[in-house]
């Protein structure tokens, strides 16, 4: 930890991000953590499963100027911070860390951390309230059926227990580091680090589900704003700003 993080811990809450969003006067670097979330949120209507004491539920408030460019890159730098924290904590080395665009942190192909960033204040405030919500699976030994194939935890991967507070502090330290670089305008450095950590940055065969349909193609890098460049099967270069990315498996995409 470095900046003046102020941490408020709650035993149980609907969602740490919803709670932090309601604190309209909160200072930058205010954090909410919880042992249990009853209504953790993901993109669109996705839910984030977080039972009592099994993981880290953390929301952090950042307050960049509304006029700042590259706000969306905060979404990617949060994943970089989480991946780095996971890769450098405890005695057990966690290997196979990956980031799926834009900010799912994976071990192999299973998700260990989910991130949802929300901004409030566009149109009415000089400084935005950016709420970075991070959920990390730490102690789970198994997941219920629908998640079993797609989720994992630190415990499952390493067989060992991680100390939540130590991990939280390591994560906040990494987040402060990358946010500091963002404030300094070092967008290229963030994109570069993201690309080092992600197998999805370049040359990955993927299917992207957009609101308007599906695209398949090969990833061709990350733009400075964090958008994903996709070289489609028809040879077009497309910029993806929003959508679900999935690794293309053999036999898929022939339609």
């Amino acid at each position: 930890m470095a900046p003046p993080f102020q941490i408020i811990h709650l035993p149980i809450i609907d969602s740490t991000s919803t709670y932090l969003k309601s604190m309209t006067m909160a200072a930058e670097f205010t954090c909410i953590t919880a042992d249990e979330q009853t209504a953790g949120r993901g993109r669109q209507s996705n839910r984030w499963h977080s039972a009592r004491g099994e993981g880290l539920c953390l929301s952090v408030l950042l307050r960049p100027p509304a006029a700042a460019t590259g706000i969306s890159l905060i979404s990617l730098l949060a994943a970089v911070a989480t991946a780095e924290a996971l890769g450098d904590v405890g005695r057990e080395r966690l290997t196979g860390i990956d980031i799926k665009w834009p900010n799912d942190v994976l071990i192999g192909e299973r998700k260990i951390a989910g991130i949802l960033v929300e901004t409030v204040g566009y149109g009415v405030e000089e400084r935005l309230r950016v709420i970075v919500g991070i959920g990390v699976n730490l102690h789970q030994t198994s997941f219920p059926a629908p998640l079993a194939e797609t989720a994992t935890s630190f415990k499952i991967e390493t067989g060992s227990q991680i100390e939540v507070t130590a991990f939280r502090d390591r994560l906040l330290e990494r987040l402060a580091h990358w946010y500091g670089r963002w404030v300094d305008g070092q967008m290229a450095a963030i994109v570069r680090r993201w690309s080092e950590l992600s197998s999805y940055a370049l040359g990955k065969e993927v299917m992207v589900t957009l609101d308007s349909g599906r695209l398949t193609g090969r990833t061709a890098g990350i733009d400075e704003d964090g958008s994903l460049l996709l070289l489609t099967e028809s040879g077009q270069l497309r910029r993806i700003l929003a959508g679900e990315v999935a690794r293309l498996r053999v036999g898929e995409g022939q339609r």
Binding site: S45, S75, N103, V120, G123
Partner: protein, 171 residues
């Protein structure tokens, strides 16, 4: 209640009131003219009837944007739907909320949730009107002024560019 520009907005053309235009349309209908033209005080009003629809054009000779009104036949119909087709003079009166970022426009917080706002809704400063998503960053866009939602320029799930109009608010 759906938004309807009032006669006062049409009167921005200063020399012809909505009432007068109505009267003229009724006159044209009554006399069965196919075309009617009136010039007064630097403005030209042209009424033309043809096929299914009759067109009313008010043109400012001074270079002010023309007001054009489409009147469905029969021309003599007493309730003129002038309001819904006054372009673009009425829009100039609206406060336009534009997109502060590039992304995807969403009218609700999730596919199953109710829209944040609908046409005719009264909104106060700070009220969330939509979300624009970019890189899984959900940006809540707030109304900068108090007013009534008169126009929604973008459909749910569509991409938006920086500065693109999203909503028109009548203050």
């Amino acid at each position: 209640m759906p938004e309807r520009p009032t006669g006062r907005e049409v009167e921005r053309s200063e020399h012809l009131s909505l009432g007068e235009i109505k009267e003229l349309i009724e006159l044209v209908a009554e006399k069965q003219f196919n075309e009617f033209e009136l010039e007064r005080g630097g403005f030209r009003l042209r009424l033309q009837r043809g096929g299914q629809r009759a067109t009313v054009e008010v043109q400012a000779a001074t270079g002010v944007q023309p007001v054009s009104v489409v009147v469905p036949a029969p021309v003599s119909a007493p309730e003129l739907p002038v309001s819904s087709n006054v372009q673009p003079t009425a829009d100039e009166k609206l406060h336009v909320i534009t997109s502060p970022i590039v992304g995807t426009f969403y009218r609700s917080s999730s596919p199953t949730a109710e829209p944040f706002v609908r046409i005719g809704d009264m909104v106060e400063v700070g009220r969330t009107v939509c979300i624009i998503e970019a890189m899984k960053l959900m940006n809540e866009i707030s109304a900068e002024v108090t007013g009534t939602i008169a126009k929604i320029f973008i459909e749910n799930g569509q991409p938006v560019e920086y500065g693109q109009p999203l909503f028109g608010l009548k203050q």
